[in-house]
């Protein structure tokens, strides 16, 4: 089990700000954040590659913050496929075991076993350059996993792969890392869907801080802050400036918004968040179509209301001509309310 306390760094780009968290063995933690949120900095600080200004890192109750990198029982897989070009696939994976002092035959046996698990059993004698990008990244993953480190870290491991290869490796991922019940797995990504699909626990970072954490479905349904909601939502969630007055909710100053099932906060300004599925075709609100785009079997429609812009998700492929007007309804059960300081203040009456 890995515990970090008040981790603070002074890195040139993004510094970690007072991060505390407890990671349990056997769990997969996906760390979601935009570029520059501090994801890589967190991994590097754990590894000992970036130095701490403050804070402690404990593995099974023992501080490892001052240990050299090689004594922390951590492995890191990078975004770029990093392999030894002059070694065979087998020797690439056997290499860390040889460095641990294992005999050549034993190291190769373990490496071959790991490569077979990861689906590369037929490629042991190839050089990395003779493999596809997805296979090369699997070699890097095998080399990180064969050490049986307590902490396995993957820093946007699929970012440099083709869309379909990413889809395939995401699907395979749980099987690839199965049997690592003694390890903590940390996986960073900028893609909300990837974070939700792969993590038992999702951690959201912005500006060097952890701003939310929890089971992905719960976080999606109840993001604690506006920032977290924005990072988690794909397609984007829309924020509209609104107002509460005498028990009614308004878009802008005076356009009445649906509020059935919502406990309204005291009178004053609020931010109204509309998920893409909160808006449906047909209803009392008029909007102009800014743009419509297809995404698989769905159509994402950018709407311009007189109180702001919002995105609607329509099931099926439908053409909406830009510049035309449509009427839509807004579903109160998919509305969230945020205070001006960004806190989620949605409470429902049922």
């Amino acid at each position: 089990m890995l515990q970090i306390d008040q981790l603070t760094t002074a890195d040139p780009k993004v510094s970690l700000q007072d991060i505390s968290f407890q990671f349990d063995a056997g769990n997969i933690y996906t760390i979601l954040g935009r570029t520059g949120a501090g994801k890589t900095e967190l991994l590097r600080a754990l590894m000992g590659l970036n130095s701490l200004v403050k804070g402690d890192i404990q593995l099974d109750g023992q501080s490892i913050a001052k240990r050299p990198v090689k004594d922390r029982s951590m492995s890191l897989v990078y975004q770029q496929f990093i392999n030894y070009p002059h070694l065979s696939v087998l020797d690439n994976v056997a290499f860390p075991l040889r460095r641990q002092g294992k005999k050549k035959s034993e190291a190769q046996l373990l490496a071959a076993k790991m490569l077979t698990t990861i689906g590369l059993g037929d490629f042991l004698q190839r050089r990395p350059a003779q493999l596809s990008g997805g296979q090369q990244q699997r070699v890097a993953l095998a080399r990180a996993m064969v050490k049986k480190s307590r902490i396995l870290m993957l820093d946007e491991p699929l970012a440099n792969l083709d869309y379909k290869l990413r889809e395939q490796l995401r699907e395979e991922f749980p099987r690839l890392v199965a049997g690592n019940d003694d390890s903590v797995i940390l996986y960073t990504t900028t893609e909300p869907r990837e974070a939700m699909e792969l993590g038992n626990t999702m951690i959201v970072m912005t500006d060097g801080r952890i701003v939310a954490s929890g089971p992905p479905a719960d976080l999606f349904a109840h993001p604690p802050t506006k920032d977290a909601a924005s990072v988690i939502s794909d397609p984007p969630i829309s924020f509209i400036a609104g107002f509460v007055r005498s028990g009614a909710l308004y878009f802008g100053e005076d356009q009445l918004a649906p509020n059935n099932g919502l406990h309204l906060p005291p009178d004053g300004p609020v931010t109204i968040a509309l998920r893409p599925d909160a808006i449906e075709l047909g209803g009392a609100f008029n909007a102009t179509i800014g743009l419509s785009e297809f995404s698989g079997s769905e159509t994402i429609v950018h709407l311009d209301f007189d109180f702001g812009r919002a995105i609607m998700l329509v099931e099926g492929i439908e053409t909406f001509e830009a510049g035309t007007h449509i009427s839509v309804s807004i579903q109160a059960e998919h509305i969230m309310l945020f205070a001006l300081d960004g806190q989620n203040i949605t409470t429902r009456t049922k």
């Binding site: 083709d162 869309y163 699909e197 479905a217 743009l291 297809f294 698989g296 079997s297 994402i300």
Partner: protein, 361 residues
Amino acid sequence: MAEIVLENLGHSYLSDPKDEADFALKPVNLTWQDGKTYALLGPSGCGKTTMLNIISGIVAPSHGRLLFDRQDVTQTPTVERNIAQVFQFPVIYSTKTVRQNLAFPLECRGVAPVRIKARVAEVATLLDLDYALDMPARRLSADQKQLISLGRGLVREDVSAILLDEPLTVIDPQMKFMLRRKLREINRETGMTMILVTHDQSEAMSFADEIVVMKDGLLQQSGTPGELFSRPQNDFVGYFIGSPPMNMITLETRDGVLGTDALDLTKNLTVGTAGSRHQLGIRPEHVSLVAANAENIGLGKIKKIEHLGVDGVVTLQLATGVLIKAKTRKHVEMSVGQTLGVNVLTDDALLYIEGSLALAQ
């Protein structure tokens, strides 16, 4: 601005190609209309970059002709083609301001300063970068830098087409959304033909009026996003377009009739060649799930539920052990192990014979 025609256009990097396999781009006929948006889509090594390089003039094709507005430009050098190109990584002059970056292509062509000033202002407004004109370009975010790369193409009034070579790779998902919207707006307002190269099917779907799907140097299908989604011509397009890919369910022939024990599809399936491989292609979006006791065409046990935000992907094991995926918004109410009824509309189950869409449906 121009209509672009690829006439039996192909390329082999070998001097003496023997057969099809020697072609990085197998000969293809395509017409791209002036003012529309196109996407060249396919995995690494499919020939999409070769095609793009032929259009920009970096590669001279070994076979066929390339026409811009019916003019043969097959051998015309890049500089004379008036193509603007945006690359994967922003290419900007980091020591210059945004204004200087945008003005540079016009200065190189000796355009009058007063005209440059007007054009730069117009393009900055189009890109929503007015406020940033006097900022050093290096201070901008990645998506803004990509807009400047694009803007340097847009300022020229003689541009035939804009080629975008995976321009959204370095952009965060949320910003991709805004940038895509911006690209579409620019296309609408300027009427410039835009050609996007990408491996990302969702990017191609959301950007292009028409998508050219390629694999192994061979054109697989060219069509609107709707056509590619609802009528993939072969199993590769069914797999490559859509996420998760199209479900492919193997059929058996019994007493001259095609069918499967997994799903009771009573449609009239034409039997193709005896002994060939028959499959039903069903989009996960077209699989609807109902209670086990409601009317259905097959029962499935939930093996896996993936929460992807608004929607989820549910994997079910059908009676015969065959797996089928369904995309649904009701995933939050379901649990692994539960048995549900499966329904598919007859029109949404497509017959594939040896991987090709059967025409007689």
